[in-house]
Amino acid sequence: MSFVFLAVEAVPEVSFTTDASWILENVWIIPALPALSFLGILFFGKRMPKGGSELGIAAIGAAFLLAVFANVAWLDHRDNFDGEAQSALHGVVDTHGEDHADEEHSEDAAVFSVAVTENVSGEPNDVIVAAEEVELTAATEAAEGEESHPAVAVLKGREWLVNGGVSFAVGTLLDGPAVLMLFVVTLISLLVHVYSTDYVAGDRRYTHFFAFLSLFSASMLFFVLSRSTLQMIMAWELVGVCSFALIGHWWEEKANSDAALKAFLTNRVGDIGLLVGMTILFFSAGGTFDIVTINEMAVAGEISQTALTWAAISLTAAVMSKSGQFILHTWLPDAMAGPTPVSALIHAATMVVAGVFMVARLYPVFYEGYSIPGSSINGLAVIGSVTVVFGGLLAFVQNDIKKVLAYSTVSQLGYMVLALGVGAWTAALFHLFTHAFFKAGLFLGSGSVAHSVHSFDMKKDMGGMRKFMPTTFKTFIVCSVALAGVFPTAGFWSKDEILVGTGGLGVGADKANGSYHLMLIMGLIGAALTGAYMTRAIYLTFFGEFRGHGHPHESGPRITVPLIILSVVALFGGLLNLPPGFLGGSASSPTAWQERFGHFIEPSAAYFPAISHAVPSWWLAIVASVVGLLGPAVAYWYYFVKVDGLAKETGESLTELPNGLTTTNSLAATGHAFLVNKYYLDHLYNDVIVAAVKGPIAKGAYWFNQNVLDKAVDTTGETAVKSGEFIYDKIDQGLIEGAVNGSGFLSNQGGKELRKMQTGKVQQYAALLFAGATILAGIFIIFV
């Protein structure tokens, strides 16, 4: 293999434009549609002929069409944009030195950039120096060749309010990852909507369910389009609230409402990290919430390394809870209590990928904060790689088919976080993209089976389902193969890209961002585990003899058609991002159909770090495939050969060997118990942390409360009562009452005397008048 050494690409000096095609400028309509349908379903859903589901489907369908238009428009914008772009730090920049007749645009662009630079420029000298540096590098780059075309984001919106010189802007930041997420979220959401019309048909809260599906989609779309960190926090919480409502959809059962609470509360733990991280970023970036500004400053090195590191660590906590990373993943399997379409939506498109997307969106913060390039270990990569293996192991001991898939999601999210941690940004989002489709397919497939047998328990109520549900079986197999990463399905390409992106053990290391050996090994182990637990789930669900009751049958078209669509994408989605050098071209000059996905989504702008891309390695691809097939092979041998053989011998439907390793070997039994108890994490949380809070800590707090705080409060109260009594008796009753009563008595008596003068006789009054006048006249004469 020939490795070509290329210099690290310089960061272009522009970030965004306010001038693009109609759909890119007005992309806010896409989240607005499901948001409106949420309100519509809430108020009028019950009066609609189909309980509001038609409104939800219409809204999300329209949003999907618009998202497709936006993607097409972005294709054109990304490669052919030839106008005026600007950057938060450097103001308006003429990318191609053209004349601009369109004065209106340049005007509002100028106004905007002034607003932004005002926020930023605490020390104007620094900004100027940085600007000069960037201009220099850009000039060198331009001299070397005009290859790198900046992919400027489309930034729209308005200032919502200004308080203390801080601008709160709301609007949309549309670039590669955002436009990709628009497509993924709207497509999965549309399929889930259609699927749900059958799955939750006749449910008592049918209308409510669709209202929240709409709000869930709207929140996630709002999240991916956020242009400020405040907007992100808002959408992040909205997504959390919707997941709470939907996980607890059947809240009459205690377990379900507990699961909803657990999801919400576990997420609160991470949300603290989100708030702290965003606050650090706000202050360290000189008081701005603007994502482009924060990112540009992080790239340009204008935020201190310490601040970035602490922000990255805090935000990692948020990712751990939202994206189900070890050790805050415990809510995710419990979230299976919700209806299956919700699980598909949560795991594929909306809830859990929010954390991954947040990292991708604020990537410069993590890239610089964790010093991703050139190192071999960092917080994000370690959490990701641990999650890959530990999540995958847990999937082996689950009897509930949805829980297998839930732990599989945990494991796959680990891959994404790992990829972000090692600097393989594109690979992470590519895996997000492919995973969304095959995992949604698997969840909807498991829902289809469960819909038929009215249970999720693989060991008790399933088995032999391939005979009853051929379509579900086929799509499930296709999605499982894609999940296991078998060549040439979607999962193979994305997983391979992540593995090569680690740059571990010298594979692809010449252009990778670091050399993450541990992450490569963990990733390979995870690949083996993935295939193995899916083989187990497939055997228990679809092979052997039917162990449930009743007569299962294939689901209707509203369930199977979404499954078929998802499995087709799962099969071929990976071809969007063929590695350079695969079937033509080379690593340095990919052909026109290689790396299209990366080209489509990866920003090459001033707000994105100049990450380098690992060179694909044939060896790694082969090793990963072999390892990835080794796991399923062992599982196949165990289930399809040993268990199935024994079952045929004895005539019983078996799910495990009666004298397997876990019963004969004490070490294996211990490990099994360890896994069944989910690493005792729930015990740690409930029995140690919560129990400590409930027990000794609460008792101590109670004693302190009773003996110190209450005493002080009581003494104060008693003193107040005593002084109050004194004041009442002596001052109020004696002095003030006496004065008031005395004046009343006096005027009463005076009135009694004076009324005698009022005879009513006019002439007496006149006499008094004259007497008075006479006396006054006398005084007048005597004294004047």
Binding site: T759, G760, V762, Q763
Partner: protein, 99 residues
């Protein structure tokens, strides 16, 4: 000029008028006594006007006469009404405002 004599006359008229107002029970007589008081004032005004060779005193006297005419009109109307209601014009009987 004999100012004092006029002033003494006016004072005498005034005292007679006051006496009449305070002691007469007949409403019409009370009104007539009020006229006496007013005319005592008029005498004063005219006397001082003549004494100072100034027409202002006369002018005020004419005003007082006009106002007195109006006053006596209202007064007689009230006395008339009193008579209609109570068949009497005795002021000592009118004491509904007694406290």
């Amino acid at each position: 000029m004999m100012l004092n004599q006029f002033l003494l006359l006016a004072a005498a008229l005034f005292c007679i008028g006051v006496y009449g107002v305070l002691t007469r029970r007949n409403g019409v007589l009370v009104l007539m006594s009020v006229e006496l008081i007013l005319n005592a004032v008029n005498i004063n005004l005219v006397a001082f006007g003549a004494f100072q060779d100034n027409v202002m005193g006369d002018v005020f006297a004419v005003f007082v006469i006009a106002v007195a005419a109006a006053e006596v009109g209202v007064g007689l109307a009230m006395v008339l009404l009193m008579y209609r209601n109570r068949k009497s014009i005795d002021f000592s009987e009118v004491d509904m405002l007694k406290g």
